[in-house]
Assembly symmetry: C2
Homo-oligomer: 355 residues x 2
């Protein structure tokens, strides 16, 4: 069965000039897929005129436009976007998922608004208090999946366990790892370390039936100690952003050393292919696409500044999640959770101003 | 007046084989300083036999040994180290500071034990609830000073303000910056971001008289957006360790690319001087030495795995703090704080099992 993805074509820093060519490239490479571009008809028509699909790929025939008159601003308060912009490209794309027209939604727009509107439109899965943001990060051994990366600033131990369950199901479904190892991000490996929330979460995780490795420290993320890294959104967001900042600084330093003088520029010429290979290996575009897990629908958030290549990775991610039945896998794992970790039946659909 | 430093000579992964040559090197380079090596007489005599000071430097004459029969293990619970090892090298070194025999103490030992024993022996400065761990980190612009990096897993808004005051005083005294800028680590710049603790801390910081920049995000650490970065010890420790892990991974990847095949090895030979310069620039040994701020005494914690060069940086740091009257500067700034941010008069001297 072909997979249909709804793309918030107006979202992100670049809007249709990125989302349209990325969608065409994705369709050219993915024979069974369809894309619905959601946004302003005139902007999308113009972008489609500029970016032609290769005729033989049939990509253009699998691409359609669904009009939406409004756009959520990148710095708009999520509650405003939810209340006032009923015809935003973001919301209409999510509605297409809710209505079963599309199998998943991809947006590079305002993260807090996407989370708030997705919760309102799609609702959370039974047994989940709050959705989380999950993303793959590179490690020495391959990749790890970390969550929450910013949706929930205050988490209960039960929520951390729910993140662990969702992360495990995601990794299991998409990466084909039967029983992914789960690490709880903490400031030491011993049981006595950490605050009360992580200590209680560790106890719950031991009894959860998950493949719980135990506490891990910050450096274990990039060592690849576990397949899943669980933390609250405050810590996760800061660790992720600190990593981005450090990588940017090191890259700047490396460039500065190679451009210091004539001799180092000659060295750079010799080293160029190696440096390109290094850069490709850590290219953040390859890791673009964070999954909003815990919703009754596949929703992938692209980095706001993504270029067309990066946005294609986010499309691939949503496609893989649909193909691998991530939603069902998460729902099954949640249903199999011990009662102590389950959420109250009625999840709160309020928007999250903090997200 | 000469500065006298008490060195916990048994601490760290390597003990006297690092602390003794580091102390000799430090004394050879620092004419006005004295060092008291604290530890087992036989171990220290043996290390002093192996590592000779240059005669003309007079270093050996400024180096003495103070016997202590016990050693705190690297993984010993802090409360045990505090209660049971009254004659540990760590505790005796701190006693020398308390008794005015030494001006500061340096240890590469167990961080939690050092913090617990230092609080018990030296007590906290008036107006400070709990000491914090502060360290310099490299940035695109130079350096920043971040605290707390792991001593306090749960912080009140008032404690975060105290960290800001102490960090400002430290940077002001040692780096000579009159009014250091202070950033509050958060998941967004806007006032509505973050948990209740950071939101209240931000309000208090605005009224603190400090040069408060506002909320900063994880990547601002390495951008060098502010001179001081304030966070609780849970977040700070995880961000720091994640950074260490990422740097190690990137270094591994770079080496892997340069040793991939004969062609890349030739490129590596050409690039070698540049890579050495790059490595020197980010050498973590240059940033070794975290300050335990908020105590009635200068205490610097070296990384447990530090080599002699790294340990010398920690000695230099303690020396600079003594010379620049950091303790008085912090006490003055604390005394000038608005009442809302001051600690209860009687600070709790219990050891911290979480540290």
């Amino acid at each position: 069965m072909p997979v249909t993805l709804a793309v918030d074509a107006m979202g992100g820093d670049h809007g249709p000039s990125v989302t349209v060519p990325a969608s065409i490239g994705f369709l050219e490479a993915t024979a069974d897929a369809r894309v619905i571009l959601v946004g302003r008809q005139d902007s999308l028509d113009a972008a489609l005129d500029r970016h032609k699909a290769k005729n033989e790929s049939g990509a253009r025939d699998r691409l359609s436009v669904h009009a939406a008159s409004e756009v959520v601003d990148m710095d708009e308060p999520p509650a405003d976007a939810l209340r006032r912009k009923k015809d935003s490209s973001m919301r209409v794309a999510l509605n297409l998922v809710k209505d079963g027209v599309a199998d998943g939604c991809i947006s590079a727009g305002n993260t807090g608004a996407l989370m708030a509107i997705a919760r309102f439109v799609l609702k959370t899965l039974p047994g989940i208090d709050r959705p989380a943001i999950a993303s793959q990060l590179p490690t020495k051994k391959g990749v790890t999946t970390a969550l929450d990366l910013g949706a929930n600033v205050n988490c209960t131990p039960q929520q951390l366990v729910q993140f662990a369950v969702m992360g495990s199901a995601l990794v299991s479904a998409v990466d084909g790892i039967e029983r992914p190892t789960v690490g709880l991000l903490n400031i030491g490996e011993e049981d006595i370390k950490g605050n009360d929330v992580v200590k209680e979460a560790a106890e719950l995780l031991k009894a959860s039936g998950l493949n719980f490795h135990g506490n891990i420290e910050g450096d274990d993320i990039y060592k690849g100690t576990t397949d899943v890294v669980v933390c609250d959104g405050f810590v996760g967001n800061i660790a992720l952003k600190a990593s981005e900042g450090l990588a940017a600084m090191l890259y700047d330093f490396l460039r500065a050393e190679f451009t210091r003088n004539a001799a180092t520029r000659i060295a750079a010429a010799f080293a160029y292919p190696v440096l390109v290979a290094f850069k490709r290996r850590i290219d953040p575009r390859r890791y673009n696409g964070a999954t909003l897990v815990g919703l009754k629908g596949v929703v992938v958030k692209s980095h706001g500044g993504a270029d067309a290549l990066a946005f294609r990775y986010a499309l691939n991610k949503a496609h893989a999640e649909v193909v691998n039945d991530v939603l069902d896998r998460i729902a099954q794992r949640i249903a199999a959770m011990p009662a102590a970790t389950a959420a109250a039946p009625a999840a709160d659909p309020r928007p999250m101003p903090n997200a």
